[in-house]
């Protein structure tokens, strides 16, 4: 099986431009975050919509200037940021598609490619969240880790397009790895939003420009609830593949172990939201721990410990 070097380099260019687009988009979100005039009524209506019991809207100091030109520009930049994010995501998709074409296999066969897929899922999740919740200016906080991960992926973990070794030549590579990328990419958004939630609750004076705590909580919860079953299915697909490839469906390989740990942490998150005294801050903290476990599993387990998953391209 040959590798199409031309397509592969097109893929790399798309990747680079996508990162560039995300950086520009992040700066636009940042402007809106910094200077935007929040549409109070919209926020308020949504707050009711999601059934807030106590009004946790933290009063901002009254904006010195009423909806002025500056605020108008901020809103325009915010809209532009979404457009640029979408543009970046399209390039991101192209980058993966070109890799797939260049190598004639699923474009997530090593750590660089997996990271790229994960980041794409995170960005797409963000674009969907935007349509449901008026939290556009938070884009800066979501794109920041995405850009960091993509930079790391492109610079440190970059792997030239190549076929995968026999152990990975299975249709389960398509199913299992994609499901895991979906699950772990989606939880990036709640992970970040939960950090903002904690900030909002613990240090409200720093977080005047963040949306109401209940809104952040809702964004985190609804995204996690969507991602968790997918992640669960991904782990189970992995077990089915392991039965086919390694001779047992579960063997406490380091990657499996930490996947299990992350799963248990997210299970704890869901339970915590149904437990008196654990909602809110503690639940958010658990969500952050869950995301940290995912990242730990991606980097530490692959790069530091030696396990059966260590062929992931590094």
């Amino acid at each position: 099986m040959g590798i199409d070097q031309t397509l592969s380099s097109y893929s790399d260019w798309c990747y680079g431009i996508a990162v560039g687009a995300y950086v520009v988009a992040m700066l636009c979100y940042l402007y809106e975050q910094a200077f935007g005039y929040r549409d109070r009524t919209a926020a308020r209506r949504e707050l009711v919509g999601v059934g807030a019991s106590g009004d946790t809207l933290v009063d901002e100091p009254p904006a010195e200037e009423p909806p002025s030109r500056r605020a108008g520009r901020a809103a325009r930049l915010g809209k532009m940021a979404v457009a640029i994010t979408t543009f970046g995501a399209l390039l991101h998709v192209s980058s993966l598609a070109l890799r797939a074409l260049a190598t004639s296999r699923a474009p997530w066969g090593n750590m660089y490619e997996f990271g790229a897929t994960l980041c794409l899922v995170a960005v797409l999740t963000w674009l969907v969240v935007l349509r449901k919740f008026p939290v556009r200016h938070l884009g800066v906080w979501v794109l920041l880790p995405v850009i960091a991960l993509m930079f790391l992926g492109g610079v440190v973990l970059y792997t030239t397009a190549a076929p995968v070794q026999p152990a990975l030549q299975s249709y389960w590579l398509v199913i299992h790895v994609f499901a895991i990328a979906l699950g772990s990419g989606m939880v990036l958004v709640p992970g970040v939003v939960s950090v903002l939630y904690l900030l909002k609750v613990r240090k409200p004076e720093w977080a005047g420009r963040l949306p109401a705590a209940d809104m952040l909580d809702q964004v985190a919860y609804r995204t996690t609830v969507f991602a968790f079953p997918i992640y669960t299915a991904g782990v189970i697909f992995g077990a089915i593949w392991a039965e086919q490839s390694w001779g047992r469906f579960w063997g406490w390989d380091p990657k499996e172990t930490v996947a299990f740990v992350a799963w248990v942490v997210y299970a704890a998150y869901l339970h915590s939201r149904a437990t008196a005294g654990w909602r809110g801050g503690r639940a958010a903290a658990i969500n952050i721990v869950g995301f940290a476990a995912m990242i730990f599993n991606l980097f530490f387990i692959n790069l530091v410990t030696a396990g059966l998953h260590s062929y992931a391209g590094v």
């Binding site: 026999p166 152990a167 189970i236 086919q244 047992r248 172990t257 248990v264």
Partner: protein, 520 residues
């Protein structure tokens, strides 16, 4: 006493305890990923203990190298198991009751609910009720007459949420039980078979190089089947990266054993042979050089012994092929004249001066770099020894001495001082097979599918209630709507809004609508 038991039970089955136990489970599982584990790599554990002194030994005594079989890990998941059962029993009873229960009475004050709406419409209360019933199709509905001619509908839906929730938790229980059953009756054995038509039969543990039985398996009652490895064909890309590994097998099981019928199977990574309730996997492969030793008296001995790869990329391999002198019956005499050929094998030789290395994993230009050792191999010492090494102890105390060192290509030989010749004849391949047996894994899979199904259902579906009350008033019928999501309010507002809009649109033309929108 009973109070103590009851309190313990309540404490154990409370959600808070379950949460803490979940955390403990996560924390307890972590060391298994960070510390070497006996079950995965015993050598690494020994190295770790050696490198960390008393600390390493302490960890060993606390079962940190066997986390998933340790007392403390078992304690956590057993407690969690009990907590789960204790949580599920009452919930199942409640669920059974709720299956037949009618929707609850309409609350007196609907405007206190998180979602509510008030409007005045021209339609009569009876018309309002009819419209509401029509719109709330699919909901479980109870219509009631109230005081002052008011009427109300109490509607509830999303019962599948609890169904999914219970399915998820029961499937978790089933999964854990199936895992335990699997641990009782499973076995797993590894064996190296030369890919030259050699056979392996699953008749007992002795046939294996290593064997790990389940708790209730003693190795006497394995599922009988045989495999014969005819050939092993790897394919590598020019970069040295493996493209595929294929082993041509023949196997027989069941009735084939009696009729001695062999069926072909192409064994590959990701494509195990499934027969007789067992699975046969291709785990890895390697080389087995063949040496012929011609003793001074003219007798010859030929051995083909597997050597192990020391470099997984180039398949540079090491090993020791051991010979007993023929026709020597006196053990003392024999121990002076035993031979071992030890050193390196390279499938594609690259020589740096006299130093042998391998440049490619496939057989292109094989060569060996060997030391011939003569003396006492230590086979009679009663101590087990590796088939890949000579006993270092015998070398150290001078009872096993090096008598020659040479690099050989296939067909080349060397002659020792006493006239013995050692010829490197060539090389064969071996495959490392694993036989696995787990009668419960189908159950595990079934429960795992239910886990995902239950999880999806319980997380996507919301249990929610909606009430409509119509009270005759001066300017028409006062319509009051209230909504409450029982589990999580997330997203219910949108649905409530839609229902409200639909009802109002149905009841009065928009222009006549008198609205008192008192949303807070």
């Amino acid at each position: 006493m009973i109070a103590l038991l009851r309190n313990t039970w309540r404490g154990l089955t409370s959600m808070r305890t379950a949460l803490v136990l979940l955390f403990l489970l996560a924390v307890a599982a972590l060391p298994g990923a960070l510390l070497p584990q006996r079950s995965l790599n015993s050598t690494k554990v020994d190295e770790y203990i050696a490198a960390h002194g008393w600390w390493g030994e302490l960890l060993g005594r606390l079962e940190f190298y066997n986390v998933y079989g340790s007392v403390w890990f078992s304690a956590v998941y057993l407690l969690l198991f009990i907590s789960l059962v204790g949580c599920l029993l009452p919930r199942t009873l409640e669920y059974a009751k709720s299956l037949r229960a009618r929707p609850v009475l309409t609350p007196r004050n609907l405007s206190r609910l998180p979602h509510h709406h008030e409007a005045t419409v021209a339609a009569t209360p009876a018309q309002v009720m009819a419209t509401a019933r029509k719109r709330l199709k699919g909901w479980r509905i109870e219509e009631r007459e109230e005081e002052d001619g008011a009427r109300s509908v109490s509607a509830e839906r999303g019962y599948l949420r609890e169904t999914g929730n219970l399915i998820f938790h029961f499937a978790m229980l089933g999964l854990i039980v199936s895992l335990a059953v699997g641990k009782m009756f499973n076995y797993e054995g590894q064996v190296i078979v030369l890919a030259n038509g050699s056979q392996f039969c699953n008749v007992g543990t002795l046939g294996y190089d290593s064997f790990r039985p389940g708790l209730r398996v003693d190795g006497t009652d394995l599922n009988p089947f045989c495999v014969k490895v005819d050939d092993f064909r790897p394919n590598y890309l020019p970069t040295g990266q493996a493209d595929y590994f294929r082993a041509d097998l023949e196997y027989q099981s069941g009735a084939d054993l009696e009729s001695n019928t062999w069926r072909p199977y192409q064994l590959e990574v990701n494509s195990p042979l499934r027969t007789a309730g067992d699975r046969v996997y291709l785990l890895s492969h390697g080389y087995a050089p063949t040496f012929t030793v011609t003793f001074p008296d003219g007798k010859t001995r030929t051995h083909t012994t597997q050597w192990r790869p020391v470099n997984q990329l180039t398949y540079l391999s090491e090993g020791a092929t051991k010979f007993d002198p023929p026709g020597v019956t006196d053990p003392a005499e024999r121990r002076k004249r035993q031979l071992a050929i030890t050193g390196l094998f390279a499938p594609t030789a690259v020589l740096n001066g006299k130093l042998l290395d391998s440049g490619f994993p496939d057989l292109r230009d094989p060569a060996v770099a060997i030391d011939v050792m003569k003396g006492d191999l230590g086979n009679d010492s009663g101590r087990g020894q590796s088939i890949y090494e000579v006993s270092q102890e015998m070398v150290d105390n001078g009872r096993l001495k090096r008598v020659a060192r040479e690099n050989l290509r296939p067909g080349e030989d060397l002659t020792l001082e006493d006239g013995t010749t050692v010829r490197f004849d060539g090389v064969q391949r071996w495959v490392y097979l694993q036989v696995s047996h787990d009668p419960a894994q189908g159950w595990v899979l079934g429960f795992a599918v239910l886990v995902v199904f239950g999880l999806g259902t319980s997380l996507v579906i919301k249990r929610r209630r909606l009430w409509v009350r119509a009270t005759p008033g001066e300017n028409g019928t006062v319509l009051l709507l209230g909504g409450l999501a029982r589990t999580d309010q997330a997203g219910y507002g949108e649905e409530f809004g839609r229902v409200t809009e639909d009802l109002l649109a149905e009841l009065t033309p928009a222009s006549e609508r008198v609205q008192a929108n008192k949303e807070s």
